[in-house]
Amino acid sequence: MNTAYEKIINDLAPKKFSWRGKIWVAFLVAVVLVGLYSYVQQIRYGLVITGMRDYALWGIYISNFVFFVAVSLVGSLITAILRLSDVHWSTPLTRIAEIIAVAAIIMAGIAIILDMGRPDRVINLFLHGRLQSPIIWDVVVISTYLVLSVLFLYYPLLPDFTILSKYFDNNTRLNKWYRVLSLNWTGNEKQTKIYSRSIKVLSVLIIPVAFAIHTVTAWLFETTYRPGWDSTNFGPYFVAGAFVAGSSAVIVVMYILRKMYKLENYITDHHFDLMGKILVMLSLLYLYFNINEYLMPIYKSTEEEATHLRSLFTGEYAWLFWVVIIGGLVIPVIIMVFRGGRKPFPLFIVSLTVMVCAWWKRYLIVIPTLSHPFLPIQGVPESWHHYKPTWMEWSITFATLAMAMLIITFLVRFLPIVPIQETAEERGLIEGHQTQHS
């Protein structure tokens, strides 16, 4: 034991909420409560409280669901892919990524239930599930991913729990909890062997599952005949977009946490620089898929595709479409190419923009297609021709976003944001062989 090591523990051990933290939590709880009120109305009166109708049959609940699934993918990227490729600079970010992944995938599961007309019959998915249906595939892969993500968050925490239980030896409650959670981790040879092997296995397992969750989510749309969804490009297009959304979420969260918890020593400018580079690369990849997705159909301009694409390029959705593509992808890439653009604050702003645009991008994927069916829309009220989310629908959607942030906030309250053990090891403060799991 040395003082540098103790300082690390001191710096990284979870801390009570500051007054700012408390206000933040209160704010999130308030948003969730408003959403809860709206949801009770939805249960009582049905989905009529939303702006959805027979043509715009899916709305922001579904696009929000796709957004959550997208964000959750980042856990596998930062933790598994970088871990397997022996990249060490990302160690301080692994837990943030994993926390975001867990929060997002939980909320994805809840978001899809919010959209159901008969949530009281969720159980039918298990009683009468049919393997032919992409929804069942989604249920299977999302629950698998949830389990894997939780394990992937939990396993690397074992050494830290032991450390924390010692650190909080004057607080009986915390001490006990951390001890229980640490599963009697002592770091002996047998434990470390199982430990590093499990993490390796998990890292390998989680990658295909992560790809699967978003590919299957893309297939929910792709399995229909609708112009705009009927595309063989959809799987990789969704996965690429997901990495963009997830990485920008990590950058946003790491900036805020670094500021709030004064972690400048652990999450350095260098980390922002590298994350910025990753985001540039991913955004370019996503742009490439976007070009494929839009350029070829408009070149051919079959009647149906052309109607759909015209509404995006010059019609009803043009404004949103171009803000999302130019403001949410092109300009951010240009900014981030410069070193100055990858400094923490500018990168934070850029990532926040990218993330908000990523949310709206899902809106643009889900909604416009539905207003261009094959047969004309006739014999329904005028208002059914256009989709306009109601305030209740928005409040429920915001509640899910607030819930996700609440989960992140609470996990951050009780878990070390930056892995203590791994950081200490990498700095050579304690013996390194214990948790070599790269």
């Binding site: 009166y45 049905g46 989905l47 009529v48 959805m52 109708r53 027979d54 043509y55 049959l57 899916w58 959209d115 159901m116 007309g117 008969r118 949530p119 019959r121 969720v122 039918n124 998915l125 009683l127 009468h128 599930g129 049919r130 032919q132 249906s133 992409p134 929804i135 069942i136 249920v139 929910l220 749309f221 399995t223 229909t224 005949y225 609708r226 539905l370 069916p373 094959f374 047969l375 004309p376 829309i377 006739q378 014999g379 329904v380 009220p381 005028e382 059914w384």
Partner: protein, 318 residues
């Protein structure tokens, strides 16, 4: 699926041919057919029943030679459908003048209270220079139904007699089937349907859609198995004053219109160049359309009935 259908059809044909050879026709479905013609005589009291053979000739058969396999709902499973039948509909676009009687009859008999009727009569025009026409559109009861394929809980299902139904007691309201159906025929109960006590108390069975409808689940045209079961034609078919619709059995190769005239299906489709909607999608609809050529009706006439933003008559709010 396809194979099974063919072999079914073949064995049925053999059966009928053999029956004819012996001068005896005992097909139970034949009796039902006679009823579908709207000339149902009581086999006990009448001497003979009129039946149509597969080549379209009418013949008199002793009533005693005809037996019934099913009379009532209890005799068949609503999930399985009527045995040895394959229902089909023909819509003659040349006759449609947008009278909308099919729609109002369907709305009434299925107690539709939402905004969106299950049958819609679209004002169509395929290209700028071609003539406009009216196209009544209902569930096409596809043989490769996109809606059934995607339903996660088997709430939407395909029966052996070709009818696609919804089990509203099982539907979870995910609306995936609505997204999947290329014909936009599915409607959702966004709120409580408020159909009145009598309907709401009625015993639910998937083969009488809309009785009662349920909040948060999907509805659509059911091809009226509850009418077929009584030996009658679907509501829209009998309500149409212009005989636009004909309904019948593919295996028997016969369809009957609202006035009781019967046609040989294969001949009708050949003579009039029948087609199905969006054939290229591979959904294999059970509804055939006859093109709006040589029209005796005036398209303009239908315009006075055309309501772009309404398909269900709403009672005035109290």
């Amino acid at each position: 699926m396809e194979k099974e259908k063919n072999s079914n059809q073949k064995s049925r044909r053999n059966f009928v041919e053999q029956g004819l050879k012996f001068g005896l026709l005992t097909a139970a479905s034949g009796a039902l057919l006679a009823k579908v013609f709207g000339r149902s005589e009581n086999p006990e009291s009448a001497e003979t029943v009129e039946l149509m053979s597969t080549d379209g000739t009418l013949m008199q058969v002793p009533a005693s030679a005809v037996s019934h396999t099913h009379e009532s709902k209890s005799a068949y499973n609503p999930r399985e459908g009527f045995p040895n039948r394959k229902f089909v509909m023909v819509v003659d676009l040349a006759k449609c003048r947008n009278a909308k009687k099919c729609q109002s009859s369907c709305n009434k008999n299925h107690y539709i209270t939402g905004e969106n009727a299950w049958i819609k009569i679209y004002k169509m025009q395929d290209s700028e220079k071609s003539a406009p026409y009216w196209q009544p559109t209902l569930c096409q009861h596809c043989d490769e139904p996109a809606c059934v394929k995607v339903c996660p809980v088997d709430a939407t299902f395909k029966r052996r007699d070709g009818i696609v139904l919804i089990d509203n007691n099982r539907c979870i309201g995910c609306r995936f089937c609505m997204a999947a159906c290329p014909y936009s025929v599915r409607v959702f109960n966004w709120s409580d349907p408020w159909q009145g006590e009598a309907v709401e108390q009625a015993e639910y069975s998937p083969d009488y859609a809309g009785v009662p409808s349920q909040k948060g689940t999907v509805d659509k045209c059911d091809f009226c198995p509850h009418m077929i079961d009584k030996g009658e034609l679907p509501h829209c078919v009998s309500a149409c004053p212009n005989d636009v619709f004909s309904f019948g059995d593919m295996y028997e190769d016969t369809v009957t219109n609202g006035s009781g005239q019967s046609f040989k299906l294969s001949k009708l489709l050949k003579d009039r160049a029948g087609y199905r909607l969006m054939e290229s999608l591979g959904t294999e609809p059970s509804v055939y359309y006859l093109p709006p050529s040589d029209r005796i009706v005036d398209f303009e006439e239908g315009l006075k009935n055309y309501t772009e933003f309404q398909s269900v008559d709403k009672p005035q709010e109290p």
